[in-house]
Amino acid sequence: MAELARNNAPQKSLRGNSFLLWIEAWKSFKKNKLAVVGLFIVIVFIFLALSAPYITPEGINDQKLADRLLPPSSEHWLGTDDFGRDILSRVIHGARISLWVGFVSVIGSIVVGCFLGILAGYYGRWVDTIISRFFDIMLAFPSILLAIAIVSVLGPSLRNALIAIAIINVPNFGRLIRSKVLSIKQEEYVTAAKAIGMRDRRILFFHILPNSMAPIIVQGTLAIATAIIEAAALGFLGLGAEPPAPEWGKMLADSKNYLVQAPWTMFFPGIAIMLTVLGFNLMGDGLRDALDPRMKN
């Protein structure tokens, strides 16, 4: 697989008409029904996350021990959990946490990954060797195992889970950018820019980065999906968010004890995770088809 990706034909220069390209991409994205569904799901969850404090019926931490484990009803649409807290409110607030972890960790991975990838691709030689081998090594560990190990080093908390997820995704972006840089470096306009004495930094910022945007956006969208699942997995293992934070994975872990009496405590956080991830996956697939048909396989 890696070989395939590396041998991608160099892409044509898109500079200058990039605005048109985005319009084209949007048009083709719009035609893709599934992608639009994905976008819709994502927008809904972003809306829920942003407006959570204003729309939730109850506070996330309003314990009412007398009302614990109530089944879904008109008062509590999704029932209550073992502290008598309203599950609907907690699931909505959970979107804040999951999306926050998803976006921030992926942005972190992109920034670090881009930095390392550009260094490796642009300067080549030993810089490239070291960085590329480093990526190989990182990718040699199953990601969730690496995340667990990192969190054990840093201590379990939501912030550290976020850092761990960011770290394990760095090589994916690093490799992507590196191969992009390698192919663009050969382009005539870059050679020309160099010839007229343009500085490295300018070349990087004005030519290489803009041209790498499309694959980064695609990969980034898909990575958010993975990051959300990973954060939930860490939360589920008790290595993520701390109580009383309404993190979806943590909520699932808590529901384990009530599988029989109160299965609804398990259903809804799980559905929330699945829908969010599905949304980002669909959107990512759609973006890939629209922005970079060659990445499809």
């Binding site: 697989m1 070989e3 041998n7 040699a140 969730i144 195992l145 599905l278």
Partner: protein, 334 residues
């Protein structure tokens, strides 16, 4: 091809070295003093210090690291602090448990995924196609720990069809030979136990299979659609052969590549997913082994466990890449 293989093997060396390096330092960064852990809560200061000296923990890090490498070269994986047994002696049952589970998951994923993909493509735009593809889409996005809980709720709690956890019936334990229980029970001709083992495998197997299954189904379907447009099939159709079987056979052949891809890409996912699956189903596999070791600060086990899993992962990726190169001449070796 040969030189490519050699090159790939050589490239492994720095990766393996790097892995030992990362593992070594990560373990040392985990808070907590191994000497304290070994001796327990009531140990005296002197006892701890003398043990630290004995374990070489008072040495500078590079001495410790080279000691560690030297041990690895003699295949000495260290001794578990908790069980006081050599890791190399006790790790196999856990590995075997994970292999068995992953293998079953992979079989489920391939059999169901490939067939669903082919049928979907053949009856493109039928209800089956839509259902299968929606299921596949959802499957790719499935948090498997949630799926595991749902399975338990459905099949154990509600329907009472399958045992909720573990690998075997505790009352009727399997006599271990290879530690692959499916094989062990068959060798001994214990059909009752074999069925037991299969029943225990179904739920975790499906949970673990879901994501690869969905991916395989999607890839197979799209490659199958291409096949159906090919001249070969048109010729076959012209000759009046029974179409479905022609296409089916041809697609199976074509499925080799996507399946290999998935094996390569998903082994990490399987091995990683195994930790979560094993947690939910109390499956005594390598993921649980390492996770427990982390909880107990059992450094040699964490160190060697992670290293072994990573090495297996790297090896499988290598084999898959090589097979890939062997099968598909379009892939360049350089």
């Amino acid at each position: 091809m040969f030189s490519y293989t050699i090159r790939r093997l050589l490239m492994l060396i720095p990766v393996l070295f790097g892995m030992t390096f990362i593992v070594f330092f990560m373990i040392r960064a985990i808070p907590g003093d191994p000497a304290q852990v070994i001796l327990g809560q009531l140990a005296t200061e002197e006892a701890i210090n003398s043990l630290r000296a004995e374990l070489g923990l008072d040495q500078p890090w590079f001495t410790q690291y080279f000691e560690y490498l030297k041990q690895l070269f003699t295949l000495d994986l260290g001794e578990s602090l908790r069980t006081k047994t050599e890791v190399s002696e006790e790790i196999w049952p856990y590995l075997a448990a994970t292999f068995e589970l992953s293998f079953v998951a992979l079989i489920i994923a391939v059999v169901v995924g490939v067939n669903a993909g082919i049928i979907s493509a053949w009856f493109q735009k039928s209800w089956f196609d839509y259902t299968a593809m929606v299921v596949a889409l959802v499957g790719v996005s499935m948090p498997i720990f949630w799926l595991g809980l749902m399975e338990q709720w459905m099949f154990s709690v509600q329907l009472d069809w399958l045992p909720p956890s573990k690998r075997e019936n505790v009352k009727n334990p399997v006599e271990t030979i290879t530690h692959f229980y499916l094989i062990d029970t068959l060798i001994q001709g214990r059909m009752d136990q074999f069925i037991d083992v299969v029943k225990h495998l179904i739920m975790p197997g499906i949970a673990l299979a879901t994501i690869p299954m969905a991916i395989i189904a999607r890839i197979t379907r799209s490659s199958m659609l291409e096949v159906m447009r090919s001249d070969y099939i048109r010729t076959a159709r012209a000759k009046g052969q029974k179409m479905f079987w022609v296409v089916y056979k041809h697609s199976l052949k074509n499925a080799v590549i996507p399946v290999l891809t998935v094996i390569g890409l998903q082994t990490g996912l399987l091995l990683g997913g195994a930790i979560l699956t094993e947690t939910i189903f109390s499956w005594p596999g390598i993921g649980r082994y390492i996770y427990n070791a982390i909880e107990f600060r059992d450094y040699p086990v964490i160190q060697s466990g992670i290293l072994i899993v990573a090495t297996i992962f790297v090896m499988i990726n290598l084999i898959v890449d090589l097979l890939y190169a062997l099968i598909d001449p379009r892939i360049k070796y350089n």
